[in-house]
Symmetry: none
Subunit: 199 residues, 4 copies
Amino acid sequence: MANKAAPDASRRSERSRRAIFDAALSLVGEVGYDKLTIEGIASRAGVGKQTIYRWWPSKAAVLLDAFTAGVDEYSTQGLPDTGDLAADLKSVLRATADEFNDPVFQAPYRALAAAGANDEELSRTFVARLMEPGTLVYVERLRAAQEAGEVAAGIDVRVAVEMLLSPFSQRWLMRTGELTYDYVDTLVDLVLRGLRPRD
Amino acid sequence: MANKAAPDASRRSERSRRAIFDAALSLVGEVGYDKLTIEGIASRAGVGKQTIYRWWPSKAAVLLDAFTAGVDEYSTQGLPDTGDLAADLKSVLRATADEFNDPVFQAPYRALAAAGANDEELSRTFVARLMEPGTLVYVERLRAAQEAGEVAAGIDVRVAVEMLLSPFSQRWLMRTGELTYDYVDTLVDLVLRGLRPRD
Amino acid sequence: MANKAAPDASRRSERSRRAIFDAALSLVGEVGYDKLTIEGIASRAGVGKQTIYRWWPSKAAVLLDAFTAGVDEYSTQGLPDTGDLAADLKSVLRATADEFNDPVFQAPYRALAAAGANDEELSRTFVARLMEPGTLVYVERLRAAQEAGEVAAGIDVRVAVEMLLSPFSQRWLMRTGELTYDYVDTLVDLVLRGLRPRD
Amino acid sequence: MANKAAPDASRRSERSRRAIFDAALSLVGEVGYDKLTIEGIASRAGVGKQTIYRWWPSKAAVLLDAFTAGVDEYSTQGLPDTGDLAADLKSVLRATADEFNDPVFQAPYRALAAAGANDEELSRTFVARLMEPGTLVYVERLRAAQEAGEVAAGIDVRVAVEMLLSPFSQRWLMRTGELTYDYVDTLVDLVLRGLRPRD
DNA sequence: TATTAATCGAGACGGTACGTCGCGTCTTACC
DNA sequence: GGTAAGACGCGACGTACCGTCTCGATTAATA
């Protein structure tokens, strides 16, 4: 099926790979995604264009790898469980708000979310590598709360997490509002209001 | 101060305007947003490039106008109010799901959502022209329900609507799940669970 | 038959055409034919690459036109006919030797002769536009001499001219010897020796 | 002083050398000189690129060696001397015409002649290895004829040979005419007309 | 006959130029 | 003055080769 002879990954230059990531991330911050070019990345990385084309199919793929490589370092270690569900959710979501408000983070993340909208393949990878892990820790925390009786049985935890995270992401992506601590708190409280078991 | 002499809109060719919209919408469906070009639109519309550049600043703006022109025909007339809030929300959201599942609708809408992520100006227009009107009718319906005592007082209705619509949009945009009637119903039920007044 | 829509020559930019010629001729002198590039010409001429590709199929064609445009100014006005055939031939051939020894002339001419060897189409144009006119004046002069009885009847004048001009060109092209006045004189004398009528 | 460590010729792979020659000659016939590439030769020869770069400085040099190796087999053994100078010259020149009309011979020879025009170094080697030996046998034959009194004393034999061979080569290289037996005969007769001693 | 150092096939690398596409501007002729 | 048409300067695309380089794996002179 593969008609392009796959290059030999064992001979790949680690130095070039890193330089490409650095160049891609810094450039996307400086000029924006639309004006980000493969030539620009290659030139800043001190690398031949072919070295990029050899290993990635598109600038979106480069950026996704670059961004992922930078993010992977926070190995996600699950949400805190202090027993106070609302407090736990608020604390983590506030931290996420800080991150989403950080300009360095914004440019590549926005670019990838946007590119994903028009490229199904990319979108799947984006979700699987960047969104899914973050979502799962919420799912687990809610599941634990459900077992502890803090969340009503029978509730679809997955949907509950969407109710929490999607408004947050959407606000940010569409710029329909600021991601303030107040907003986060309001959102968590309203979501939890719907999850609590009835007396 | 305006150094670009504003064109005289009264002499504008309506035939060209329409042809450009048709060309833009059909092309974005055929080749996708990334491969949609001004030259392509002009050529299919049988129009000079300058005629496009004279009236729009970018291909995104053309597409936004084209799409809006097509959508404006459903003049939004408010949500039904049968007295059964859950039923009203489900019925409208199911209809929206059908719309979002329609391929003709998808390509331009995805394209615009994506383009907005990297273009703040465009994003504001997109939200104001396409998303805000749809959101408002939900806000009004919930406000009415709140006054009728079906929704707890003190709840931020705006946030409540986000909890309903964002998971829906997000699923679709990121392709994290299908927009089925089941999903819609589950979502409405779970959101309403949190809105109901406590005994 | 023409599958490429021919561009509209009436809208062609004369200024660009000239700038391209100048750039091509100066560059071929500076860097040689092999390192002459379309990009280089475009860049020096202050012209887009496409403007070159629109009007010429190859760098050889550009150079041929550029060179021809420069040469066409000497409208060939026939060989002198002083009655002394040997003197006439020597004087013109000496002038040609001077020309061939001029570095400005050499680079493009060599390049074109070489490119023609591998490109039949180009070769025909090169011969027709640059070599044939020069050859014809010799043919005419010899024909006149033949009618005057200075050259034996029955001699193939065309072949006679080749005997005169080819050794000259060949020496130059292959660098097998210098084009001195002595050489020219020897050559003319030896050729004429074979042309004279027998007693 | 030599900063490039000279490779050790004694360990050289004869099999590779031959494969490179075969590949170069067949490729130049198939795709022409301009599209002949080192990578293409290496690939067809089943050889690493470095093996070519180790032993030759350019594709022209490879081709020259390849062609020379093929040609060297006819060890030139002097022109026949039957006593009839015209007949001797015609017979050899007719054979040469056949050779120049052979497609297998044409591609590399044309390519080398052309490459030589723009590369003085190559040109000297080309002349010395391929043209000079062929020329010398004519010079010797004419010298013999001169001593036998068939050619006038005092004639520059070298120039006489040029008068014979250059028109021939030039015709072929520039495609200004066919190399027929008739042409050869005419040429020989006209040249000899000029060489014969006067009564 | 085993050692060992250079050559070998392979192909990744930093580059340059290719020929094409589309941008946004400008010019021309028409209506 | 708006329009269809399209040439222009420009910049990026994705590809092809350049000549250099680094890898084991032969492989042929020497120990």
